[in-house]
């Protein structure tokens, strides 16, 4: 056994990750928004942004809220969904759709004039979407989690539509 040790160690190089897992993981990462999270301090940005969300300037808070949602979504998928391949595909598709809507909303918020009434309505809707995503991250039943994510997705579509109309 001892003289074979180095040969056996070489054999361990045959250990490879599961191909399906690798494909899903890669797809998720390359489709994910670059969050600018430091490699050795993954939580810090999340909490800073959460503080900013409570800030009194509505437009800034809304923009920051979008980022918070992106980060909450990312953390949720990573920690709860990774091993559920089928659900990851569904969640990934919803995530892609949410990302597109969020980018549109962020663009409209930053570049178009919006009255204070609209900002207030959008804040309420974003609050609901955040709650849905938070609840999704705590539910054990994955189907119910997906329902919550879907609900958040619909809210973002509603916000996007209302911003486009108001402009």
């Amino acid at each position: 056994m001892e003289k074979d040790l180095f040969k056996i160690l070489k054999e361990l190089k045959q250990i490879k990750p599961d191909a399906d897992y690798s494909r899903q993981s890669r797809l998720f990462i390359v489709n994910s928004e670059r969050t600018g999270i430091p490699a050795n301090n993954p939580q810090s940005s999340r909490f800073r942004l959460a503080d900013v969300l409570a800030f009194n300037f509505p437009r800034l808070a809304l923009s920051m809220g979008i980022f918070v949602i992106l980060i909450i979504g990312t953390v949720y998928y990573v920690s709860h969904q990774l091993n559920q391949n089928t659900l990851v595909v569904k969640a990934g598709e919803m995530n892609d759709s949410i990302q597109v809507k969020l980018n549109e909303i962020k663009y409209l918020l930053e570049n178009k004039p919006i009255d204070s009434k609209n900002i207030s309505d959008i804040q309420i809707l974003i609050g609901k979407a955040i709650n849905d995503l938070k609840e999704a991250s705590t539910l054990d039943d994955l189907d119910k989690s997906l329902e919550k994510i879907k609900s958040a997705q619909e809210i973002f579509s509603q916000i996007d539509a209302s911003l486009k109309i108001s402009n």
């Binding site: 001892e2 180095f6 993981s25 969050t35 999270i37």
Partner: protein, 181 residues
């Protein structure tokens, strides 16, 4: 670092996800292997590997080339990820997993003839009983075939320190295997 890789890293830093995807393809199997041999559990290794690449993608704009290969950074993030994993899972590991590993190795000692597959399994378990630094050097030097110099740069140590660590690691590995056979 080869020019092609440097170019990929620069493109990834500029936000090109497809470039990071190619870096993922190149390094993911070895980072997965590194983590798997340390945690000894396939699904946990998958989760941790995913986290490593998610974090490096999120923080790649902070990557500065300092003469070390890109893989050094990935291994560094992977090592921290495994440390965090053991920190949060410590109580479970102490009470369950380690005793399970020891029981399994102990049961092998009663077998007179072990086939190759069992030997491989035995070595895997023996690696898991080494301390983290010794695990690092065994994996990098003898499984991944990195030179002492490359291993030193990955582990942020001198070549001499790596050779000493390697000597102790091999000695301990043999000791564990002999004590169980």
């Amino acid at each position: 670092m080869i020019d092609g890789e440097k170019n990929l890293i620069e493109r990834a830093i500029r936000g090109e996800a497809s470039a990071f995807g190619l870096l993922y393809d190149k390094y993911q199997p070895q980072i997965y292997r590194f983590i798997y041999l340390k945690v000894g559990h396939r699904e946990e290794a998958e989760d941790l590997t995913h986290q490593v690449f998610l974090k490096t993608w999120g923080g790649i704009d902070r990557y500065v080339f300092q003469g070390f290969p890109f893989s050094s950074w990935l291994y560094s993030v992977a090592r921290n990820q495994v440390i965090d994993y053991y920190r949060t899972k410590k109580s479970n590991i102490d009470l369950e997993n380690v005793s399970e590993v020891k029981i399994e190795i102990h049961s092998y000692s009663y077998s007179d003839e072990m086939d190759r597959a069992l030997d491989v399994d035995k070595v895997k378990k023996a690696i898991s009983l080494l301390n983290p630094q010794q695990q690092d050097v065994i994996i990098l030097r003898f499984i991944e075939d990195f030179s002492p110099r490359e291993t030193a740069s990955i582990l942020n140590k001198t070549e001499i320190a790596v050779k000493l660590l390697q000597h102790r690691a091999v000695k301990n590995l043999k000791k564990i295997l002999n004590s169980k056979s």
